[in-house]
Structures are given as structure tokens and as C-alpha cells.
């Protein structure tokens, strides 16, 4: 499994460098504003990381499907659950690197306590786990289990679901939406969600959901009726 993960990370190193650059922009901004003692809205930094990783999830799924990786990897002498897990570890390992870099930069530079930020980042990590697993769960459930449902309908449904999820995530965590009166509700919703996301309960709930969905994704992959694309 680790050889498979190393191979995937090596194979996609150009994409990883692009996503890392997005994250690094935020981290550098974090460091610079910290040195200057400028109190900026930190979620903007993490939202860059989150949007970057979400794009990585999407690109990963497209590339994975296009290159028929399920078929290729299932033909290897590896237990099928390990193959299912290695699909998810790609994004998880990139996100862990992002978070570690973020924490190092933040704790080295920020003069004020980071409790809320750490908690919100942990909540985001749970959300990333959920999104990463959900994409593969949806793919496995509907592409390979319900053969009677037309492919084209599901392609559209897939895109809609993914877009909705990403838009929701952006609204919640993105900063930089200017204050316009007609966006007041979104801003209010965002603020309330920030308060919720930085609570310990949100950390526990999101991460438990993320871990649960990850396990479900592995089990569903193992139970697929077909590994053909």
C-alpha cells in the first residue's frame, strides 16, 4: 500500500507542486502579516489551502478515472481494502503537510493564542476527510452498483453534487467576499459557522464523520461488483 501511495505521489508531483504553491502563498502571507503584526482574517489563508486541496480532490478523481486506476491497481497482488485506502491517502497526506506547515508558520509568527484557529483548522481537516471520501463513495455506489441507471444522468448529477459541495465550502471558509448589503445573509451565515467550526464539538463531529466516511469508502470499494472502468 505504501509503495502504491509513494507511486501516486511521485506520479502526480507536478499537480502537488501546483497545489502546494497555492498553500504556500497563504503561508507566506501568514508569516509576513505575522511579522508585521498585522491582524488579518486568518481564514483567508486556510481557505486558500482548502480550495487548493478541494481542487486537488477533483483533479485526482478525474485523473484516477481517466487512467483506469481502479482496474490497474486491482490487478495487483494487494488486498483490495488496502487499495481502497491508498486512494484516499493521497489527498490526506497532502493535507497533513499543509496543516503542519500552517501550524509551524502560525505558531512561530502569531503573537496571539491560536486556539480558535487550531480548532477551526482541525474542523476543516475533518471536512477534507469527508469530501475526499464522499467523492469516491459516490463514484463507487452509483457507477458500479446500480447498473440500470443511465451513465449520462449520473455524470450530470455527479458534477452538480460536487459543485454544490465546493460552493458551500467556499462560502463557509472563504474570505474576501466584500461587505455588500445583499450579501449580509451569507456573511452572517459565514460568521455563525466560524463560531461553530471553532468549537471542540465541531472538531469531534467533523473528524468522526470524516473517519467514518473514509472507512465506508474502503468497505464500499472492497464490495464493488466490478473494477472495470
Amino acid at each position: 500500500m505504501w509503495h502504491l501511495l509513494k507511486t501516486e505521489l511521485s506520479y502526480h508531483k507536478v499537480e502537488i507542486m501546483v497545489f502546494t504553491s497555492l498553500g504556500l502563498v497563504g503561508l507566506i502571507a501568514n508569516i509576513v502579516t505575522g511579522w508585521q503584526n498585522i491582524d488579518v482574517d486568518l481564514p483567508g489563508v486556510r481557505s486558500l489551502m482548502a480550495v487548493g486541496i478541494m481542487v486537488a480532490c477533483f483533479v485526482r478523481l478525474i485523473s484516477y478515472t481517466k487512467e483506469k486506476k481502479d482496474r490497474y491497481h486491482t490487478s495487483l497482488p494487494l488486498p483490495v481494502r488496502r487499495i481502497g485506502l491508498s486512494r484516499l491517502l493521497y489527498i490526506i497526506s497532502i493535507w497533513i503537510c499543509f496543516v503542519i506547515l500552517f501550524w509551524i508558520s502560525s505558531s512561530a509568527i502569531r503573537p496571539y493564542p491560536l486556539d480558535k484557529i487550531i480548532l477551526e483548522t482541525l474542523t476543516m481537516s475533518g471536512f477534507i476527510l469527508m469530501a475526499n471520501a464522499t467523492l469516491f463513495i459516490y463514484r463507487d455506489l452509483f457507477r458500479f452498483s446500480f447498473g440500470s441507471i443511465r451513465k449520462s444522468g449520473f455524470r450530470i448529477f455527479n458534477v452538480v453534487m460536487i459543485l454544490l459541495g465546493y460552493i458551500l465550502f467556499y462560502i463557509i471558509f472563504a474570505v474576501g467576499i466584500p461587505y455588500f448589503s445583499f450579501l449580509r445573509r451569507i456573511n452572517l451565515f459565514k460568521e455563525n459557522f466560524h463560531n461553530v467550526a471553532s468549537s471542540p464539538y465541531a472538531v469531534i463531529v467533523f473528524n468522526l464523520l470524516g473517519i467514518g466516511l473514509t472507512i465506508m469508502s474502503v468497505i464500499l470499494f472492497a464490495r464493488r461488483k466490478s473494477y472495470l472502468e
Partner: protein
């Protein structure tokens, strides 16, 4: 002796097609040609054996081990060349082979180089830049490099132009003629396998209609022409009959029995001629339509 593979009551059902129930085995060191028209279930059989598709019921064993995806040790004994050739497209052939080598303890880099040389496979080309013929060759090298005891070859030359096909087959058969491996070769092009096969199994509409040793088929089938004035005779073992006046031509699946009957009936000008495997295959498959 443990069978190379064993299928017992294997069934796979699709909306308008059912494969099976399949019940057959392959002895180690035997080459079995799996012959059938397009859509007869050859590829589905391969997919079930390799675990790419889960059969709806039945058991499958590879060298005595169930083809359980949670315990994939059985995959170490097989080399599979499928209908689709999948690689890391941005990597070279060499890098793809290097990736695979980590999974097989018996993998031999020397063997890879030797096979690549014989197949004239450009190892330094990216997989996405390989021609379809070279992709097949890369698949073959991937399947052979760890010296598997069982080879599953699913129409490996499908889609190749005649020149490339002949070249790939010639090299493949040179490699395979050492007689050490069990080979399960599915094709609808008989000339691909007739040279190598010990036995042939004929598949039609998801069912095996006949399995025979290749030599038995060529020994038993004949075209027989004769003159006979009697009418409404049912000829023994006659698969096909054409008649013009008193002139008859029969295709017989047991020429000795047919000849004995014809002599008993007083037929004249009896002439028999051998049939090629291709002709026999056509008659077997036509017989069920």
C-alpha cells in the same frame, strides 16, 4: 496434482446475458484455447478469474487458492494480459515495469530486458506515446516478467494490424513454447492459438458447448463426399449435409462411424478429406445457432 485453475458453477448475469454455469478446470502445463464469437463471454470469464468482476455465484480457485480479493496471494501465480492495457501513461515503459516489480517477489529485471529485446519494446518511451502494438508488448512483458505459473491471455492481439499481430504472436509463442506454463488463451481468431493449444473449449452464448483435445478434433472430423440414391437417411455424426441429386457431402464429427454407416448403406465414390481447425470451429459454433 493441483489444477492451474478450477471453476465450479460460476455464473455472472448481466441484463441480457448470462455467463455460465461454468464448470471446468485447467491442468498445469496445458494450453487451453477458449474460442467463441464476439459477445460469447470469453472476456467476462477472464474478468471473473482475475477478480476484476465478481461472479454472482460459484467458486474459482487458482492453484488451489480461492480468488479472494482480500487475500491476493493467488495473483502472484498469474500473469494477465487483458482486453484493455492500463499503465501510468506519463511514465516510460521502463518506469511502469519498475513500479510493477515491487509487487512480485519472482520479478526478474534480466528477464524484463530479455523480453523487451525480443519483443523490440522501446523501454524509454512514455506509455501514452506507445503504439497499440507496443502497448500489447508492454502488457506481455509485464505478465511474463515474474515467471507466472498460469497465463491468462484475453485476445492479446485484438486491434493490431496483421503485421504487428504476426510479429507479437511469433515472439510470444517462442517464449511460451517452453511448455512450463498453463495458458488460458481466449480468442475469436483461431489461427492465434491453433499452433499452441493442447485443448480447445468452445463458448457460445455464455455456455461451453464443447471441449476437446485439438488432435482429437482433427482426427475425428472429416468432410465426406459420396453418391447415394437412398432418400431420407439420417447420417450418423453428420453436422452438415449438402445434396445435389445423388451427390452428397457431409461434415462428420466422427468420420469412422459415418463411414461405417455409409458402407453399410452401399454408398459409392466415398471420399474423405481432413478439415482444418478453423473449419471445425465454424461447424461447431454454427451447430448451436
Amino acid at each position: 496434482m493441483t489444477k492451474a485453475f478450477r471453476l465450479k458453477d460460476v455464473v455472472k448475469t448481466y441484463p441480457e446475458f448470462q455467463l455460465g454455469p461454468l464448470n471446468f478446470e485447467l491442468e498445469p502445463g496445458t494450453v487451453l484455447g477458449y474460442i467463441g464469437p464476439n459477445g460469447s463471454g470469453k472476456t467476462t470469464t477472464m474478468h471473473c478469474l482475475t477478480g476484476l468482476v465478481k461472479a454472482d455465484r460459484g467458486e474459482m480457485e487458482i492453484f488451489g487458492r480461492r480468488n479472494n480479493l482480500h487475500k491476493p496471494e493467488w495473483k502472484l501465480d498469474i500473469g494477465y494480459v487483458g482486453d484493455v492495457h492500463v499503465f501510468y501513461e506519463r511514465w516510460t515503459a521502463e518506469k511502469n515495469l519498475k513500479f510493477l516489480s515491487k509487487f512480485y517477489p519472482n520479478w526478474s529485471d534480466e528477464r524484463v530486458l530479455e523480453l523487451a529485446k525480443r519483443f523490440q519494446l522501446p523501454l524509454n518511451k512514455r506509455a501514452k506515446d506507445l503504439s497499440s502494438g507496443n502497448r500489447v508488448k508492454l502488457s506481455l512483458v509485464s505478465a511474463l516478467a515474474h515467471s507466472p505459473k498460469l497465463l491468462l491471455l484475453d485476445e492479446p492481439t485484438s486491434g493490431l494490424d496483421p503485421v504487428v499481430r504476426a510479429e507479437a504472436l511469433d515472439t510470444l509463442f517462442e517464449v511460451l513454447e517452453d511448455g512450463e506454463r498453463a495458458i488460458f488463451y481466449s480468442t475469436h481468431i483461431l489461427s492465434d492459438i491453433s499452433r499452441l493449444a493442447d485443448e480447445l473449449a468452445f463458448l457460445h452464448n455464455g455456455k461451453i458447448i464443447q471441449r476437446s483435445a485439438k488432435d482429437d478434433l482433427t482426427d475425428q472430423w472429416r468432410k465426406i463426399s459420396f453418391k447415394l440414391s437412398k432418400e431420407n437417411v439420417v447420417f450418423e455424426a453428420a453436422v452438415n449435409l449438402t445434396k445435389e441429386g445423388n451427390d452428397h457431402q457431409i461434415i462428420s464429427s466422427n468420420f469412422k462411424a459415418t463411414l461405417k454407416q455409409l458402407r453399410g448403406l452401399g454408398a459409392e465414390n466415398i471420399q474423405e478429406s481432413r478439415m482444418t481447425i478453423d473449419e471445425i470451429t465454424v461447424q461447431i459454433l454454427k451447430g448451436v445457432e
